[in-house]
Symmetry: C2
Subunit: 243 residues, 2 copies
DNA sequence: CATTTCTCAAATGTAAGACAATTACCTCGC
DNA sequence: GCGAGGTAATTGTCTTACATTTGAGAAATG
């Protein structure tokens, strides 16, 4: 399983890679126990702290979990969709915030992906998904809502739309695209009129999904994308005019 | 910046979270140097190995990079699209291999997402993208190709298609969906006739992209999805008949 | 005999100190 | 002025030790 080829980087990185390869290639199966830290240290001819650093690298990626006590140790972790969601969201968020991705680019990607889900969601949505969408629409129409809460509700609405497709792989992929947009959306300060328009479009989309009309849902999403872009342009124009 | 709230988990996990929050919230900027390990240990009132384990967790997520020597240390890393690609691909691959995702579900997600890129790619593809697609099509028509090489070329073809959309966020999202499918595709042993059909569909898609015809590209992708599903069903039927 | 409690061993979690390796910076000699 | 070498700072690694948790078996007790 565990040869350590003379590659580059720290020892802990090399060991982490070796173990990761063993997991990916199936040498180590799910829920199988890894050798103890002392045994690994002996095997790789390094000290225990070095092994521990390697294990922490893997734990950070949710590849293993550790348990203390007798018959404890490190176990290969089944990567759950929830773990993957979380990783996706933080990675996507950082990617957008650190790389000066234009609002247009991020928006385009998000709505392109959402439109991909729309026909499936129109086919398969359950009453539960519809109820969530309607509830978020209602919340969004409440006047006292802060901008942050409005955006959070927006995310919840779109999550329900995506989850309606009943395809966990799609949900996983979209989680990053939808949630990572929230910080960008938060910079738009919505006027009452803006919100009303968005809520109307949300209702239009929800209607289309309820009527199992995928094409109408796509149209609604496209309209929403254009509206979002228009609002963003206003904000950016006002900002550059001020400076 | 760095308070350590009484949360759960190991000390190293808590410290890693604290630093990550500082990065995400902007307290630490890109390329800014973190305090030295000794200073962090002093600040958090833990030992240096514990701090190191926390830093390794962050390094595993490409959030920081470290440098030895005087004026070395840990620096906030700009999360590049390439780093994010790599993370996405390994996460997606493990997610599919560890969760008994059906071939149909993965296939549906992949082609739904690709169809989302098709119109954009038809609009924006460069000669370079087209050339890559044609070259991969040519390679796929060579008779001596192994199944693995055929699948790898398939991935390269679809990557070019996706990259043609000229939207790095889309490329990032799709990288996982496309590449993670490869292990699943590899279980299909293609006959010569299968390959010819797939190559024809690839050509059809490339033609559509060349002619800036997004609708035709979507049609071609849908046909390819159906063909892929048909092949997979044959394989699964043959397999269950044998057992 | 059943049940509770104790103790022990194994494993991870944490700490402290030391040394090696690397690298920027400073000083000194020319 | 400039190059060579030394020096300090910092990460990388090793060693040793102790603390904490947890399961399992032994022992005590009803």
């Amino acid at each position: 399983m565990k040869i350590d080829p003379k590659s580059s980087g720290d020892l802990s990185a090399q060991i982490a890679t070796a173990i990761k390869d063993a997991i990916v290639s199936g040498v180590l199966n799910i829920d199988e126990r890894l050798p103890s830290e002392a045994e690994l240290a002996d095997h790789f001819q390094v000290s225990r702290p070095t092994v521990r650093e390697a294990l922490k690298r893997l734990a950070a990626q949710a590849l293993i979990r550790t348990q203390r006590g007798a018959s404890g140790g490190a176990f290969v972790n089944r990567l759950s969709f929830e773990d993957a969601y979380a990783q996706q969201i933080t990675t996507s968020t950082l990617l957008l915030s650190m790389n000066e991705v234009s609002f247009e680019t991020a928006c385009e990607a998000r709505y392109a992906l959402e439109r991909a889900c729309a026909p499936l969601s129109a086919d398969r949505r359950t009453a539960d998904h519809l109820a969530t969408m309607r509830a978020e629409i209602f919340r969004q129409s409440q006047p006292g809502l802060t901008d942050e809460a409005f955006c959070a509700s927006d995310v919840a609405f779109h999550r329900a739309l995506v989850d309606g497709a009943a395809n966990p792989v799609l949900s996983y992929q979209l989680a990053g695209a939808v949630e990572a947009m929230q910080p960008l959306m938060n910079i738009i300060t919505f006027t009452a009129r803006d919100r009303a328009q968005i809520v109307d479009l949300h209702s239009e989309i929800a209607d289309a999904i309820e009527n199992c009309d995928g094409a109408a849902a796509i149209t609604g999403l496209t309209d929403l994308e254009n509206e979002t872009l228009r609002l963003a342009q206003n904000v950016f124009a006002a900002r550059s005019a001020k400076s």
